[in-house]
Amino acid sequence: MTGEIKHEWPLFEVFVRAKRGLNHVHVGSLRAADHEMALHHARDLYTRRNEGVSIWVVRSEDVVASGPDDKDAFFAPSGDKAYRHPTYYSIPDSVPHI
């Protein structure tokens, strides 16, 4: 056997909608030759017990993600905007339904 690793099939990320009304949620990955096969494999692998009513598959290499190192710089702008939260505003207890 040669030392070369053959990447026969690309990697896909799988997202499943558990039931109507919910978002698709990432559940894992799998390898498949193409998108159609990825969908079939995702059905067999991730929904053997009615775990889903809809599946998305996305080529893993097409996912663009923020890195953990970006955390401070990337998410900091929301940290100093306390006025975006309802608790920022003081309203007397006597005012109903607000």
């Binding site: 690793i5 026969e8 099939w9 990955s29 193409d34 692998l45 053997r48 890195g67 953990p68």
Partner: protein
């Protein structure tokens, strides 16, 4: 991120009992340990299809055949969840399969024993999957996020595996004398190998301390083994079988069952490749890989051709 800063963030996440995620900084040792553990676990699920798979064509009824097919399919699924988790650490599943086939990575020693009668299918569900559940439930809180999430999925499905096995055995125990003897014979053969599934005793398990510090493992091998024995004894009584250990008895002081000495030389022998079925299991896995190669290549060629047409 520098290694010093990375180490600090990593230690804080572990300390706060939060999860490490794929793109986080992690020590090389953690990554290597995680890949080794997840790969070994994935290989066990894949090789674990063989002992029971051998009985699919000989299942005694359509109901039992459908159950067994579903169970073996689950084992394949568990292997794939785990390879998926390993790939988040930079491992490649083709490479992992090659390492398995070439004997460079291990799988659970339990699958190197033969399944001699249909009662073995029931005993594997009851004892082997029961032991696996003991091992795996704490792993749902393992510090590596993708592994912990895979384990949650797996544990949900293992419960079906254990219950179908126990129900199968209850059915056989209500049958003929010969059937009851088959169950007892299978219990006699699988009991000690099941206890060995928890690994060497703590004193002889060099990786345990580091794995506990990293919160990869939550309990020691001996703690989990004791838990399994305590759970299983009343189940054996309810079933009407005898566990093959004359030293097995309730210890009121410890509030645990005492059990006899395990033959660790057997575990060492089976792990190092000299169990009854090691060669056959690997040969079968290699055969499946080699005979499936043309299908994978054809599917890849078909996909490439269709992409060309579309462009």
């Amino acid at each position: 991120m520098s290694d010093v800063a990375g180490e600090k963030v990593f230690a804080e996440i572990i300390e706060k009992d939060q999860r490490i995620e794929p793109r986080d900084w992690m020590p090389d040792g953690y990554r290597k340990t995680m890949i080794r553990q997840i790969a070994q676990h994935a290989h066990s699920e894949i090789i674990g299809m063989q002992p029971e798979g051998a009985w699919i064509t000989r299942a005694p009824s359509l109901r039992r055949k459908a159950i067994l097919l579903a169970k073996v399919q689950d084992e394949a699924g568990h292997g794939l969840y785990l390879y998926s988790a390993a790939e988040t650490l930079g491992a490649d599943r083709g490479d992992l399969t090659r390492r398995l086939i070439e004997g460079r990575q291990k799988y659970s020693s339990i699958f190197n024993y033969p399944t001699l009668s249909f009662a073995d299918v029931g005993v594997i569900g009851w004892l082997v999957d029961g032991a696996a559940i003991c091992n795996q439930v704490p792993l749902c809180r393992s510090s590596y996020g993708p592994y912990a999430r895979a384990m949650i999925r797996i544990c949900k499905e293992e419960s079906f595996h254990q219950r179908q096995g126990y129900e199968l055995l209850m059915t056989m125990m209500r049958g003929t004398t010969v059937q009851r003897e088959m169950v007892q014979d299978a219990v006699n053969r699988w009991w000690w190998p099941s206890l060995m599934m928890f690994g060497p005793p703590d004193a002889d398990s060099p990786n345990t301390a580091q794995s506990m510090a990293w919160k990869i493992k939550r309990h020691t091998n001996d703690e989990l083994r004791q838990r399994f024995v305590d759970m299983t004894v009343p189940q054996a009584e309810a079933l009407g079988v005898t566990l093959p250990d004359p030293d097995l008895r309730w210890n009121a002081d410890r509030e645990h069952y005492d059990f006899g000495a395990i033959d660790w030389s057997e575990l060492k022998r089976v792990i190092s490749g000299d169990g009854p079925m090691n060669a056959e299991r690997i040969a079968r896995r290699r055969q499946a890989d080699e005979e499936g190669a043309w299908v994978r290549e054809a599917a890849a060629a078909h996909a490439a051709k269709r992409t060309e047409v579309r462009a």
